[in-house]
């Protein structure tokens, strides 16, 4: 596990196949975005906590105009997903179109080391 509580550390864990976010041992808050201090209680007593690989779609969009880095992937569907613990993550839903999606749909979260990948992806499991 990464020893630094940061976005860099979060992606080091992802590169090793782990989906973990900093969790405050003092107030049980999940620290998002990943960093070294809990904004809720200012504790620095953190741990990397595993989060569920399942979540629900809070909202979504299908991007047709992107920046250079994402040009190859365009169009692509992005979403905000809430895991079972209540942690929210922004990310890309793989192999999806906006037309088939609804708020509340269930997704699985997979980590990926494929070239140019943002690290993790959402995959539709069940339409709500």
């Amino acid at each position: 596990m990464a020893d630094n509580f940061s976005i860099k550390g979060f992606y080091e864990n992802v590169a090793n196949g782990g989906l973990r976010v900093p969790h405050c041992r003092n107030c049980q808050n999940y620290v998002m975005p990943p960093t070294s201090i809990c904004a809720n209680c200012l504790s620095t007593d953190l741990e990397w906590a595993k989060i569920s690989r399942k979540g629900r779609v809070v909202s979504f969009s299908e991007i047709h105009v992107s920046n250079k880095k994402f040009q190859r992937r365009t169009p692509y569907v992005v979403s905000i997903v809430e895991t079972e613990e209540g942690v929210r993550l922004p990310g890309i839903i793989k192999d999806a179109t906006a037309r088939e999606l609804r708020i509340g749909d269930t997704v699985s979260i997979s980590v990926s080391s494929e070239d140019g990948s943002p690290g993790y992806f959402f995959n539709i499991l069940k339409n709500s």
Partner: protein, 383 residues
């Protein structure tokens, strides 16, 4: 009353080929100074300049650039930043200087020169206003607002036709504004058939990429009549923040910072917004005009789309929202927008807005925001 605004100026907005932000600023500054012939530029104590990004012109130190362009060196001249809220932040900084007694007269400037860069580069420069996890995952700004829109549609029943109506209304207003970037009227069908940018938002739901500058002169109220008989007054102001990333908010379609900024500004102004007949609000995307009108209390939460549906936000409707054409049609040179809103209100409250003049307008609201409604600055004006 906090301070007076004795003059304002604005460049023509649009794709201003061959002009850098220096020339755009000079255009706005000259118009502003022509209105107050008794004002000697040596009386300007300090300058605040709002600009969004150093990427467009590979330039920071916009304070110096502005000051040297019109011979204000060695006065204090400082750039402020808050993405597209930079303009209102410059105004706020100028107001605080005058209220504190540090200076009697301060110049607030907003500038941006965006069109020399490609849409991809502009998209990327704007993405710098989101949070790293959003950037890494390719969330563009249109997609962030699209996610607010999708939630609003799901919860409250707003539709893409409602969003289109905001664009149609603002293009109509823009057609009455000779300085607007887009002066062409459009139809609902034009909006709905325009290219998808980030579903459900289409090209005509998005403000254009523009060049432009706007300025305002803030003055201690006791001195204002030395320069003009028709200063406008700043009655209240506030700024508030939200999380940098949209994903960290529990309610995606409630711009909480805007609601707080409006409430606080009204408290300072000792009035409520029912007196306000004009609002220039940050319609970078059509959905945001709807969300901000809820935050300002012009409609109840979840009912902002009913205002546009019933035509209540047209010029001389119940509340004239974005009579200038808004960001949507007047144009959106990011750093200049906050002061472009003030320029419109300056004209409107003085009865100088021509074909788009709102009648019996005594009070006005400006709501300028940066990021995903992540920093919101509000100003309440009177005559």
């Amino acid at each position: 009353m906090l301070v007076s605004i004795i003059s304002a100026g604005m460049s023509k907005m649009g794709k201003r080929d061959n002009l850098s932000s220096r020339e755009l600023f000079a255009e706005a500054y000259l118009e502003c100074m022509q209105r107050v012939p008794n004002l000697d530029r040596k009386e300007i104590g300090a300058v605040y300049v709002g600009s969004q990004s150093e990427i467009y012109e590979h330039q920071i130190m916009y304070g110096n650039m502005v000051a040297e362009t019109v011979g204000l060196v060695p006065k204090a001249a400082i750039r402020v930043e808050g993405c597209a809220a930079a303009g209102a932040i410059a105004l706020r900084s100028a107001i605080i200087d005058v209220m504190s007694g540090l200076h009697d007269i301060v110049l607030a400037v907003g500038i941006e020169k965006m069109t020399a860069q490609s849409t991809e580069i502009v998209t990327d420069a704007l993405m710098a206003a989101s949070e790293p996890l959003e950037q890494i995952n390719g969330l563009t700004f249109p997609s962030i607002y699209a996610m607010m829109a999708v939630e609003h549609m799901h919860r409250y029943g707003s539709t893409i036709e409602d969003f289109a109506k905001v664009a149609v209304k603002n293009h109509l207003n823009g057609s009455l504004n000779p300085k607007a970037h887009l002066q062409k009227q459009i139809s609902i069908a034009d909006v709905l058939s325009s290219k998808v940018v980030a579903w459900p938002l289409k090209l005509y739901d998005c403000s254009p990429i523009s060049d432009g500058s706007a300025v305002a002169v803030v003055c201690k109220p006791e001195l204002a009549t030395k320069y003009t008989d028709s200063a406008i007054q700043v009655l209240g102001m506030a700024a508030a923040t939200d999380t940098l990333g949209l994903y960290n908010r529990k309610d995606l379609s409630w711009p909480n910072a805007a609601a707080i900024a409006c409430t606080e500004a009204c408290k300072i102004a000792k009035m409520d917004l029912t007196k306000v007949k004009i609002a220039e609000v940050h319609d970078a995307f059509t959905i945001n005009e709807i969300l901000l009108s809820e935050a300002a209390g012009f409609a109840e939460k979840g009912k902002g789309h009913l205002l546009i549906r019933e035509g209540e936000t047209s010029i001389n409707g119940k509340i004239s929202i974005n009579p200038s054409g808004g960001l949507k049609a007047r144009g959106h040179p990011t750093g200049a927008t906050g002061l472009a809103q003030v320029y419109e209100i300056f004209l409107q409250l003085r009865g100088e807005a021509g074909k788009r003049q709102v009648s019996q307008a005594d009070y006005a609201l400006a709501l300028n925001e940066g990021g995903s409604d992540a920093v919101v600055v509000s100003h309440v004006f009177g005559r």
